[in-house]
Amino acid sequence: MSLSLLLVADSDSQLLACQALARFADEQRLRVTVNAVPRDGTPASVIEALSRIGPVWQLSLRQLLADPRLDGFDAIGVYLTGSKLAEFRSVYRDSRRQLDRPLRPLFCGFNGVVLERFEEAIAWRLGYDLICLNGPRDQARLELMLRHTPFAGQRCVLTGLGRQRAAEPGVERADQLVFAEQVVIPAADHERRRLVRILAALARRSPDWEVLIRPRVAPHERTFHAVTTHITETVEETLGGLPPNLRISDAPLAELLQSGRLLATVSSTAFFDALDLGCKPLVMADFGLRHDLGTPFFAGSGLLRHFARAADIDSLAAGPGADPDWLHWVGYDPHFSPRNLLEALQELRAQPPRPPKDLIHPGYMVNAADLSSNQLRRGAEAAIRRRDYDEAARLLEIAQLQRPENRNIGRRLAAVRIGNRVGRRLALLVTPRFRP
C-alpha cells in the first residue's frame, strides 16, 4: 500500500531532516511533498535538493492550513521549532474540526542528535500521533520522563540517525580532514579562536594532509541560531594568513565526506553523515566533556581525540572506528530508520480513526496545551507594544485561524501588516485592541 506524506518545515536544519525522510521515497511506495515555510536566509541549495525528490510547496502555515490539498495526504510530518510544533498540532486539529474535515495522523521528530533540552522538546511534542526518536537512548529518556504520568502511552518510533545514502565502496579517498563547524559550539569568541588555532597548528604538523573548515552556513544564510561573527571572520582575525594546507570550503558537506578520509567535529550530527558516506568521524575533545558543547553525547563513541595533543593527523586517524554498542544505543543502526515510521503510519491507516489523545489532565501540563486565541491575542498586543510587528502578525494569523468569525482579529491583523509606518500607526489606533 502506498503512502502520501506531507512534510512541513521551516529552518534549514528542519528541512534537512525532511530530506532524510524523503530519501526513502523511491525505495518505498511513498510519495513525499515538502512544504518549506518561507523564511529569510534559507539556503537555496536545500530547497533545490528537496525539489529533486518530490514536489516542494512554499506556503505560510496560514495558507497551508487553508489549502484543501491538505486533506489529500495520509499523514503530515511537522518539523518546526517547539512552540510552532504545538501551535500546528492545536491549530490543525481545530481547523479540521471547524471545517468538518477528517483528521490525518500527525508525526514529528528531531533534526539530528538531541544534545540538550530533551524534556522541554518532548513537552512541546506530546499529543502528536507519533514522535520519531533517534534510538534506544532517546526512547529510554522519553520513558523515564513520562513514567507515572498520564502521558505514558505516548506513541513513538525509532527512525535512526542515518541520513545519507551509503557510500560507494572502494572510492579512492584524499588525505583530507573536514572540520564541520557549528555556529554556536563552542559559543565564546575566545574558544572559537582557540578552535581555529588548534586546527591551523594541526595542519602545520601534517603537511601531507589538507584541512578544510566547512562553515555550517554561508555568511548570507541563516540557521536556527543567530550569530554575529561568521567563522570566516574568526579565521581571518585569528590567523591572518592561512597555512597552505588549510582552507575554508563551502562545497556541499556530503560531497566533501564522499571524497575525504576524515571528518572532525565538536558535536555535529555531521558525525553520522560521515559514517553514512564512509568517512571516519572524530570528535574534538580539546574543550572537554561539557554539557554546553554537547560532547558528553559522544563520550562513549570511542572516537574522542585531543587535537592539540596529537602528533599529526595520521596519529588521529589511527585506531578502530566507532563503538558498535554505542552506535546502536544512540540510534545509528539499520534497525532504526524511517521504514519504522512508514510501518507505523501504515498500521495507523489500517486502524479505525481515533480521536487525538487528551492532553489536559489536572496537575499535569504539556507546553502550549492550553493555547487559546485569547492568549495569542494577548501575545500579539505585547508584540505590538515592543514594535515587533512580524511576531504580532504571526500570532494574529493563528488566532484568526482559530476564530475565523472574529472580525476584530482580522482588522488588527490587517493593521499590523501595513508596511508604511504612519499608516500602520493610524490603523493600530483605530482598530480595537484586545482586552481580556
Binding site: 504520568t149 561539557r290 554546553d292 563520550a299 562513549g300
Partner: protein
C-alpha cells in the same frame, strides 16, 4: 567511621549539615570543613551539630587532616571539584601512601540537563552519592561506554533537603509560603511581573498571610537587594497588602513547617513540603522549560496556573504528589546514611 564533609557555598554547607546529622545518627563521627568566610558567616547563625573547621577546600585537599578520616565528602563549586581531586592525588603521591576515599554528589534532586551538567565534574571520584533511581538511570546513560563506565555510585535518598517527619503543627492563621528562587524567572522584569501577580494573590486572599520566602541566600540588609529579588519589589511597593510578607532565608525550614500550603515554580524545597504532606502547587504558567528547571516537576501531578490557586482554601484539599514520581526522586530510600556508610566502608583503603 570518621568522616569529613567539605563545602564552599551556603547551600552546600546546609546540605552537609543535614547529611552530617543523618550520618551521626547512623553512628559516624562527622567533621564539617567549610571555606573560612562561610564558616564565620554561617557557623554562628545556627549551632552546628558537628564541629566546623574553617579551611579553603583546596587547602583541605592538600592537608594532612584528611589522612585522619576514613572518607571525605566533597561538596564544592563545580569548577573546584576536579582541581580538588588532582590536589588530593598529588598529595597522595608526595606522601607515598593512599589517602581516604573521596565521595561527592548533587545535593539537590536535579534531573535532565541540570543533572548531567552537575555530574560531569564529579566523574572520577571514588563514589558518587545520588538521590534516587531516576538519577541512577541518568548517570548510567552519561557514563555508558565511556572510561567512567565503572563509576561507583549509590542512591541515598533526598539527603540535601529536610524531609524528616515534623509533626502536624502549623501556624495559627492560614499561611501560604511562596518559594522564591534566585534566577527563576531570571530577569528583573519577570520578577517584577511575578511580584505583581503574587500581590494580586494576596489581595484576593485577605484571610491568608502570603509569605514570599527566598530559597537562596538573601542578604538581611535591604540595601543589598536588587531588582531580581521579590523582596526589592516588596520594599518599593508603597501600597503593599498587609498580608504580603517577606520571609527571612534563615527561617526557610521553619516557615515551610508552619505553612498551610506551599507554592513555587521549581524550588527543590517544594519537595520537602510534598514529602511532609503539605498541600503544594507547582506554578505551571512558565511551561516545561529547561531554563526554569521545569523537567524536575513534570511528573509531580501538582501543577496548576497561578490564577487557578484561588481561592487558596481549595489548595488545602488538593491531592498529594504523585507517589511514583516521588519514589523516582529518592523519597522511598529510608536507609540512605547506612547505605553510604556501607559503601564507604567497602572503599576504605
Amino acid at each position: 567511621m570518621r568522616l569529613a564533609l567539605i563545602s564552599d557555598t551556603p547551600g552546600a554547607l546546609e546540605a552537609c549539615r543535614l547529611l552530617g546529622r543523618q550520618l551521626q545518627a547512623a553512628g559516624a563521627e562527622v567533621t564539617l570543613i567549610a571555606a573560612p568566610t562561610l564558616a564565620h558567616e554561617h557557623g554562628a547563625a545556627s549551632p552546628p551539630d558537628a564541629p566546623t573547621l574553617a579551611l579553603e577546600p583546596l587547602a583541605a585537599a592538600a592537608s594532612e587532616l584528611l589522612d585522619h578520616v576514613d572518607a571525605a565528602g566533597v561538596f564544592v563549586e563545580p569548577q573546584t571539584l576536579q582541581p580538588f581531586l588532582e590536589v588530593r592525588r598529588q598529595a597522595e603521591r608526595l606522601r607515598g601512601r593512599p589517602a581516604c576515599p573521596l565521595f561527592t554528589g548533587p545535593p539537590l534532586p536535579l534531573v535532565g540537563d541540570a543533572l548531567s551538567a552537575d555530574l560531569l565534574p564529579r566523574l572520577g571520584y571514588d563514589l558518587i552519592c545520588l538521590q534516587g533511581p531516576v538519577q541512577v538511570e541518568e548517570l548510567g546513560w552519561l557514563i555508558r561506554g565511556t572510561p567512567h563506565a565503572a563509576q561507583a555510585h549509590e542512591p541515598i535518598g533526598l539527603w540535601g533537603l529536610p524531609i524528616e517527619p515534623i509533626g502536624t503543627t502549623v501556624s495559627r492563621e492560614p499561611l501560604l509560603v511562596v518559594l522564591e528562587q534566585e534566577a527563576v524567572p531570571a530577569g528583573a522584569k519577570d520578577k517584577a511581573l511575578l511580584y505583581r501577580r503574587l500581590r494580586s494573590l494576596a489581595l484576593a486572599a485577605p484571610d491568608w498571610t502570603v509569605r514570599l520566602q527566598p530559597d537562596y541566600p538573601l542578604s538581611a540588609d535591604p540595601e543589598e537587594w536588587d531588582e531580581t529579588a521579590l523582596a526589592w519589589h516588596h520594599g518599593l511597593d508603597t501600597e503593599r497588602p498587609a498580608n504580603l510578607q517577606i520571609g527571612r532565608r534563615d527561617d526557610l525550614t521553619l516557615n515551610l513547617m508552619l505553612a498551610w500550603a506551599c507554592v513555587g515554580i521549581s524550588s527543590p524545597w517544594l519537595l520537602s513540603a510534598m514529602v511532609w504532606g503539605k498541600p503544594a502547587a507547582v506554578v505551571a504558567d512558565y511551561g516545561i522549560r529547561t531554563d526554569f528547571d521545569g523537567p524536575l516537576f513534570f511528573g509531580c501531578g501538582l501543577m496548576r496556573q497561578l490564577a487557578d490557586c484561588l481561592p487558596l482554601e481549595e489548595l488545602l484539599s488538593s491531592p498529594r504528589a504523585n507517589p511514583g514520581w516521588l519514589a523516582g526522586l529518592g523519597w522511598t530510600i529510608a536507609d540512605g546514611p547506612q547505605r553510604l556508610l556501607r559503601r564507604l566502608g567497602g572503599l576504605r583503603r
